[in-house]
Amino acid sequence: MDEREDLEHLLRQGLRPRQTPAGFAARVMARLPGTSPVPSFQKKRTFWMPMTRWAMATVLLGVAGGAYWQHEQNERIAGERARNQLILALRMSAATLNDVQHKLLKSTSGDSE
């Protein structure tokens, strides 16, 4: 090995990668967008978060319950209206039939006289 090769060998040995300071990767990760430490206002928000969630759920359930009750009412009213219309139609049919029957009876009694 000549002088130059000797120095090159020493350089390769001496320039092996260094160890990074402890916690380097964690510090890089902490600086990535979306992983920054949570600011204090966000901490406050997370404290109130469960209560807000429950309140929203209650309101949503109330709205959903109200909508269901309204739907049931509408169904009941529509059902009653249909029933009334049916009764009316039956009454009208009955009246018409009576009328027809009455006319028939009258005509047959006229024929026999």
């Binding site: 300071p21 990760m29 990535l32």
Partner: protein, 171 residues
């Protein structure tokens, strides 16, 4: 973009030593080297979609680290360009331990070189790149790379001999 807690963390852990070593050996100071190395990884995170392969990733890290470290060196007061912070390299290694003594001495010799020669030596002997690859990476004529290497080795050898003389005189 890589998953924040998974893939990217593994990439940082796998390449942190290479990136930090380049930054430290160009700058010669641990604080700025860590800042530069962190910035390089943040830049990598933003540029992740453009990375095509492992080889591309390594080449990207080398190139960007050298450029960011050289930029940081330019922003620094001129007196610190050559032999960087003496106390930094002195505190790095216990001088009685053979391999660490060698590493420390080599780094001292490296940091005493002009910045352009320092970068070329670093890429040649730490990163094991051929002169042609260094020329391509630094967009420098091949003859310039070879000349930087020759001059750097000559300077380092001369300084190493001076140091050896001092050791033998005081030892």
């Amino acid at each position: 973009m890589p998953g924040i807690t998974g893939e990217f963390c593994e990439i940082v852990e796998a390449h942190q030593s290479r990136v930090y070593s380049i930054a430290y050996r160009v700058l010669g100071d641990r604080g700025t080297a860590e800042e530069v190395a962190q910035d390089v990884f943040l830049e990598l995170y933003r540029a992740w979609d453009s990375i095509a392969s492992d080889e591309h990733l390594i080449a990207w890290l080398r190139r960007v680290t050298v450029h960011r470290a050289t930029d940081a060196l330019r922003r620094r007061p001129r007196t610190l360009h050559g032999a960087a912070r003496f106390e930094d390299w002195m505190s790095e290694a216990p001088r009685e331990e053979g391999s660490l003594l060698l590493a420390s001495e080599i780094e001292r010799l490296l940091l005493a070189l002009p910045p352009a020669q320092r970068v070329v030596v670093l890429l040649r002997y730490q990163e094991d790149l051929l002169p042609g690859e260094i020329a391509e990476m630094l967009q420098m004529p091949l003859a310039t790379v070879k000349s930087h290497l020759q001059r750097a080795l000559k300077l380092m050898r001369a300084r190493a001999e001076d140091t050896l003389k001092e050791y033998t005189r005081h030892g």
